[in-house]
């Protein structure tokens, strides 16, 4: 009566096959190409990369001259994540707890603007932040205006990034807030915690998974973004992403661009693994 079964290891691996193929085709093969490019020799002709293998691109990429740009990129990404968290948490909490039957509409309101082209929206910010733009004129009324506007500053880039990645923070936070059992807050009050300590000792640990997921979803793409700094930033706002983009676009140095991409990726992976080791989870 025992039906014949494929060995357990086989069936498990067969079930993995579609996922494995998908990962291989769309993630690993492109990734492997980038790694290979990074060790190839640069060709100024149409091939861009040729043999022999060399580590020259890594020697160039690790030049201390790039350190300030690396630091700036990390600072932008960290500030953007922090800003998204500060803006996103109250919003997600409000929608989850007090949205009532308007929840779906409120969530849609967060998402709908993002159906328009990112480029168009960043160009809109360009107009807003310009010297003659709305932001500068309004601030000018209270004496906070700035000659020439806020375009081409670090602030403009962080603002643009925050605006661009906010939904990635709000959605996971919303799910976490929505799942959070509100009775815990009442219990905390009953047991003598004040508002502040309830927030830090009950609410925050409760929504921690959402905070982590949202932060990762914002931090990683913000560290690699190149469109925002290029359009809203000036000569002193170039990021690692924009340098990588330059190496590919002008067609002038694919190995260097690839090496920088690999280094950036390695850094992100290190951050994830270190974080994963401290916390309990893998990701």
């Amino acid at each position: 009566m025992a039906r014949r079964r494929a060995p357990r290891w086989l069936s498990a691996n067969l079930l993995l096959l579609p996922t494995g193929l998908w990962l291989a085709l769309f993630l690993l093969v492109p990734l492997a190409l980038v790694v290979q490019y990074s060790f190839a020799t640069r060709d100024t002709g149409p091939l861009r990369v040729v043999l022999p293998w060399t580590a020259q691109a890594y020697r160039t990429a690790l030049d201390p001259a790039f350190l300030p740009i690396f630091g700036r990129t990390l600072a932008y990404a960290a500030l953007t994540t922090a800003a998204c968290l500060l803006l996103g948490f109250p919003l997600a909490w409000f929608i989850a707890r007090h949205g009532g039957r308007h929840r779906n509409a409120l969530l849609a309101a967060v998402l709908v603007p993002f159906w328009a082209s990112y480029l168009a929206r960043i160009y809109a910010w360009k107009a807003l932040l310009d010297g003659d733009g709305l932001v500068n004129r309004l601030l000018g009324l209270v004496g906070l205006g700035r000659d020439g506007g806020f375009l081409l500053t670090d602030g403009a880039v962080v603002l643009g990034l925050t605006y661009g990645f906010l939904p990635f923070m709000v959605l996971p936070l919303y799910v976490a807030c929505e799942r959070f059992d509100h009775r815990l807050v009442e219990a905390s009050y009953d047991l003598g915690h004040g508002r502040v300590s309830t927030f830090f000792r009950v609410v925050l640990p409760g929504v921690r998974p959402g905070v982590l997921a949202g932060s990762l979803l914002v931090l990683v793409p913000a560290a690699g973004d190149f469109v925002t700094p290029r359009l809203l930033g000036g000569v002193d706002q170039s990021t690692f992403g924009s340098v990588i983009d330059d190496q590919f676009r002008g067609g002038n140095n694919w190995p260097l661009g690839s090496a920088m991409a690999v280094l950036l990726m390695a850094l992100v992976v290190v951050v994830l693994v270190v974080r994963g080791r401290r916390g309990e989870d893998v990701l």
Binding site: V29, N252, E280
Partner: protein, 387 residues
């Protein structure tokens, strides 16, 4: 309240208690797939090919690979006279499909993929050099283009394609400075304009290695086509200094100039004139120190299905009457000497479109300096942008 729960769910990335997945198993399978992927991707890189253009006396006789009265023409937007194509169709009975692109990169992507099926394309001279290195265009059959003799001498011996072996100029322009008269409050005569108070922190330079480096080289009195490593280094230092005074390094200047966001920009004359159409406050100047000429070139892709028809169009557009109508419509410089008498006087007398000889002498074409020197320029440019 339970009924109207939102249906939005986000993947549970942070779900920690799936027991089967440990970090070790994840790492092990990642390592396996990474190795496999390296194998799958291994054919991506090959040895350097022999340098092209080695005097191959390959047959330049142009004939149609597909025998039909058709021509697929790929040109920049707003860059043709109304009757250029209809006139050709009426005369030859060849049906023209006219498509447009808006950047050299877009054109390159289409042509490099090989399957586009275009018979005539119009890259700028810097991209023609790249196309030539990649063997993307075919040599021209001069027997089919008798009107070639109508070209001005300057364009018959130009560095980008001496003897017009691969290309025929469509129109040409210069690289100079566009500016807002009211914002700068002064006429611009040279690169010292970047020091003007009205320009500080908001002006731009082009994001293209040879164009950007040109400013440093010219300002220091060097040849913009120099191969001298020391001069390139000096220019890099000059530009790093200049960078403190400007706002952005970008080739996207038409919109910011028109809206007044950018008061001073290094700019192609064609872009400057286009911006001026929308904002009369704008002016264009060729700096006292000099500049460069650029030219958009008709050429025939290597895989063109109707190469012979393409040659007939080349001969047609080189005719004096056709060339003059084209020049009057697009208001760029014409390379067609025989057409000059029929070009609008007002246009001919505009020193910004047709600079006088002494200015022209300071507007060389961008020379192809060979892979090593071009790489040196690219590296210097990276240094400028990241320094």
């Amino acid at each position: 309240m339970g009924d109207n729960r939102p249906t939005v769910r986000v993947a549970r990335l942070w779900d920690t208690d799936s027991p089967r997945v440990t970090r070790r198993s994840v790492l092990r399978s990642m390592a396996f797939f990474a190795l496999a992927a390296q194998g799958a991707a291994a054919c991506g890189i090959s040895e350097a090919p022999p340098a092209p253009g080695g005097g191959s006396s390959a047959d330049v006789k142009a004939s149609n690979a597909v025998d039909e009265k058709k021509l697929n023409f790929f040109n920049w937007t707003d860059y043709i006279a109304e009757d250029t194509v209809p006139g050709f169709q009426a005369e030859t009975g060849i049906q023209v499909t006219y498509d447009n692109f808006s950047s050299n990169d877009e054109l390159e992507a289409k042509i490099a993929s090989g399957a586009a099926g275009y018979d005539l394309v119009v890259p700028s001279d810097n991209f023609l050099r790249r196309f030539l290195r990649s063997n993307l265009v075919r040599p021209l059959d001069h027997d089919l283009i008798p009107n070639l003799r109508n070209l001005e001498q300057r364009f018959r011996e130009a560095d980008y394609d001496p003897g017009n072996r691969y290309s025929i100029p469509w129109a040409w322009g210069t690289t100079g400075l566009a500016y807002s008269r009211s914002q700068l409050g002064a006429e611009v005569t040279g690169f010292s304009a970047y020091d003007l108070a009205g320009a500080r922190g908001r002006s731009t330079i082009l994001d293209e290695a040879r164009d950007g480096m040109m400013i440093g080289l010219l300002a220091l009195g060097h040849d913009p086509n120099t191969k001298d490593a020391k001069q390139i280094e000096d220019a890099t230092r000059y530009l790093l200094d200049l960078k403190k005074k400007i706002g952005q390094i970008t080739s996207d200047v038409i919109e910011p100039l028109t809206s007044g966001q950018v008061p001073l920009a290094q700019c192609y004359s064609g872009d400057a004139f286009q911006a001026r159409k929308a904002n009369a406050d704008l002016a264009y100047a060729i700096p006292r120190e000099g500049g460069m000429s650029y030219v958009d070139l008709l050429c025939v892709p290597a895989k063109a299905p109707h190469a012979e028809n393409a040659h007939r169009f080349l001969d047609y557009v080189l005719r004096p009457d056709v060339g003059a109508k084209l020049a009057n419509a697009i208001r760029y410089g014409s390379a067609n000497a025989a057409a000059k008498p029929m070009v609008d006087k007002e246009l001919l007398n505009d020193p910004l479109v047709y600079p006088p000889a002494d200015v022209l002498a300071k507007l060389p074409f961008t020379k192809d300096l060979g892979p090593d020197v071009e790489a040196r320029y690219a590296d210097a440019w990276t240094k400028v942008k990241t320094g």
